[in-house]
Symmetry: C2
Subunit: 324 residues, 2 copies
């Protein structure tokens, strides 16, 4: 049973071997650019891990791991255009570095290449893999649309928010693990269980992300805290705060949300103050742990030796016990 | 052997049965909108025709015909954003009617659905179909990039232009016919020949398109002539004109291309005058016929009864002997 670190190295070596140096260069340069920005490669490693758990041969899912990483990067390029985001991982986003048209088109090509890798060496499991991939890809786009819709809505319910992050973020993690497990020969029931592990961890991961933006350790988080607060981003913190606030507290919150001119520091401090009064950190941490524990329950129920689960257990810890 | 008209009806009925009325509606409304704009459904009919020719069962390729139509519409939505085009088939483009973000995201989902249909009921031929589809899809994107690059280049050679339209337009027609033929059970050699038929017809079709914009019959063409001229679009007419012009004529052309303020009618008349002097219509018509005849030569060589070729022969005529 290979460790997460070993699988990560196997993936990075394979990725480095792939060549996207094609013509016209305007189309392919952004490929190499966004892939070079790095990131934790969480999703492709989950593909390899899902495969390794059931077969001890994680590397047989390398093509599909690339497919998932390309899909993820395609969605980052297009989302960054839609969100008008200037920076990604501390560097200019693709549309900032090149232009929007290049971003749209190279994203499109990246999605096509994702299918190219998905179906490479997939053997008899093609149909299953494509169905899973298509379903997931469509859900991720639906999640992004819901997220954009939320920007224009004053109130978003906790359930609507959870549905959105499930689609936008969590299903891809579930799908990554399940895809690997299918290639590794998992029984259908186990493949479904591992999908649940990934999906539930994904929701916990996103809740953690929201928490870190307000309650993280500045030094370890690596960016200014409170960015979400300044932008009125509808995070689980804000949604829970609005739901739990007294009339007076709700009015205070809304006043801040509607202010056009403000001192960012004062806004962050005032809203954080309300978060403390309302015990938001605690509420969200409990919610996050609920999903985390549910994920582990599903992992327990998978019918493979305990030793084969240790990698994913460790991975889940790393995912949640993080500071950035 | 079903006729083109029968295949068209079969396709339109099947398309009407497909439901894209899903949530969130922001994402799926543009699907129904762009598909409702109609068009000749040239590409999906070519899929059915390719299948019919080899099997007399064109309808077995219906899923793949939808896949090709969805891919084509995905590329229209994204191209219209990139080209800043306000109108498509006399109606507002998707990003004009909704907004750019909706255009990007619903285009993405449409591409994913294209794969969903492509692999539906594809049986044992999945790998072949996916390879062909991916190769073609990538080429179409490369063609769009080349087309965008041309906007910033003063001189484009005839060969570069032909390469661009081959990628942006022609390979999809070749691929549509070939995809149908594969499903219809064509031998590899015949599938390759029918691909060539489509590719060559596609080049001829695009040259015809360029011709019609300047030399069409206004009433039948349905839009003002000379739109390409006003926009300095690098069409085969302009490229041939620059290549064949005397120094004086070239200077006249360049003066018009560089003018920022002009009376559109005067510009169209002046450049048309140069086109007449240089015999551009004749030069391009000859070139177009060369591709058309080459297409027919390839069709002749396909190893099926003559009667089975009559539909495609008729289709090729309709494609080229048109006024809009």
């Amino acid at each position: 049973m290979k460790s997460v670190i070993e699988l990560q190295e196997i993936f990075n070596n394979y990725l480095a071997e792939q060549s996207f140096e094609k013509q016209p260069k305007e189309l392919y340069e952004p490929f190499n650019y966004i892939l070079s920005l790095g990131g934790k490669r969480m999703r492709p490693i989950m593909v390899l891990l899902g495969c390794e758990m059931f077969s001890n041969k994680g590397e047989t899912a390398l093509s599909q791991a690339i497919a998932i990483e390309l899909f993820h990067n395609f969605s980052l390029i297009h989302d960054d255009i839609m969100d008008n985001a200037p920076m990604r991982r501390g560097k200019p986003t693709v549309h900032e570095k090149y232009n929007k048209n290049v971003g749209i088109l190279s994203g499109d090509v990246m999605l096509i290449y994702a299918y190219e890798y998905l179906l490479c060496n997939s053997g008899v499991k093609t149909e299953q893999l494509v169905q899973l991939f298509n379903k997931t890809a469509i859900e991720v786009c639906e999640g992004q649309q819901l997220d954009m819709n939320f920007e224009n809505e004053m109130y978003v319910s906790v359930n609507d928010y959870l549905k959105m992050i499930e689609l936008k973020t969590a299903v891809l993690l579930g799908s990554a693990l399940k895809m690997g497990s299918i290639i590794g020969g998992a029984k259908e029931q186990d493949a479904q269980k591992i999908y649940e592990v990934g999906r539930l961890l994904g929701i916990a991961f996103q809740l953690q992300d929201d928490l870190l933006d307000s309650f993280g350790d500045v030094k370890k988080f690596g960016k200014q805290l409170g960015g979400d607060i300044i932008q009125n981003k509808k995070t689980i913190l804000l949604i829970e705060a609005i739901e739990n606030a007294s009339t007076e507290q709700r009015n205070q919150l809304i006043t801040w949300l509607e202010k056009k001119n403000f001192d960012p520091k004062e806004k962050v401090n005032s809203i954080m103050d309300l978060y403390y009064q309302l015990n938001i950190q605690d509420i969200v941490e409990k919610k996050m742990l609920k999903y985390y524990n549910e994920a582990l329950t599903n992992l327990d129920e998978i019918d493979i030796p305990e030793i084969n689960k240790s990698g994913l257990r460790r991975f889940a810890e790393l995912l949640l016990v993080r500071e950035s």
